[in-house]
Amino acid sequence: MKAHLTRRYMLAASHRLHAPTLSDEQNQAVYGKCNNPHGHGHNYAVEVTVSGPVSVETGMVCNLVDLDEAVQRSVIERFDHQNLNTLTEFADLVPTTENLLEVIFHKLKQSFHSAHLEKIRIEETSMNSFEYAGEEQPHR
């Protein structure tokens, strides 16, 4: 029997939204406060949903320790308490939550193999959230 499991992680990071191909005025118009030169920060909540058959032996979809380790290694250690703009992942990519979401999804897809990575959801603030399930499957 297939089940879905979601675990929530927190990471705090700063960013500044600024597209090098736009003029200063255009950046200000598009990004508003998020374009302030010195950046600002968020407490991001990252919800990772994995799925798979429930093991008859363990009663689990996957061992949470494995998921925690993969998220810790490839997401938390990389992004927590960092300025996203200074990281190589965002050298040519504006660190919007949309782009952060895709970067995290692909990192975790590579580092976690104990169950199927179904979906990642990031809350940037309590009022905004973003979801990505890769490109293969329909989403609801």
């Binding site: 939204l17 597209a19 191909t21 736009l22 598009v30 990004y31 508003g32 990519l93 504006v94 660190p95 919007t96 949309e98 782009n99 979401l101 895709e102 309590s126 009022m127 905004n128 959230s129 973003f130 979801e131 990505y132 399930a133 490109e135 989403h139 609801r140």
Partner: protein, 136 residues
């Protein structure tokens, strides 16, 4: 494809009453909600839009614009209002959470040029919500 959800809140009053029915039938079907003096809720609205990331801005949609449309089309029209008496959709339709979610979809669907509407989720209370995907 990225799905982006914006939350907003509004408070409104309403009552449930089907004019085709007797008072007893209304009370039997709608219970406490049939009290014609009305009652209120703090509604939480979650609007999900979908799209691809714009390679220049890194955005699926400009959240400022989305917030403005949500405020203009929904919050300003429904917040601190009596839904039965002040929101035209409910002049002849019962303002259940289902019907409010559909009305919000219709309001947004017409005005939302900045992104493709995917889902309207409306919480009447923390333990009760309706999802509408625009399906017939």
């Amino acid at each position: 494809m990225i799905y982006l959800t914006r939350k907003s809140e509004f408070s409104a009053s309403h009552y449930y009453h089907n004019p085709q029915w007797t008072d007893e039938e209304n009370r039997r079907v709608f219970g406490k909600c049939a009290n014609l003096n009305g009652h209120g809720h703090n509604y939480t609205l979650e609007v999900t839009v979908k799209g691809e990331i714009d390679p220049t801005t890194g955005f699926v949609v400009d959240l400022k614009q989305l917030k403005e449309i949500l405020n203009r089309e929904v919050v300003d029209a429904m917040d601190h209002r009596h839904l039965n008496k002040e929101v035209p959709e409910f002049a002849a339709k019962i303002p259940t959470t289902e019907n409010i979610a559909i009305a919000i979809w219709q309001r947004l669907h017409e005005k939302l040029k900045v992104a493709k509407l995917h889902r309207v989720r409306l919480y009447e209370m923390p333990d009760l919500f309706v999802d509408f995907y625009g399906e017939a």
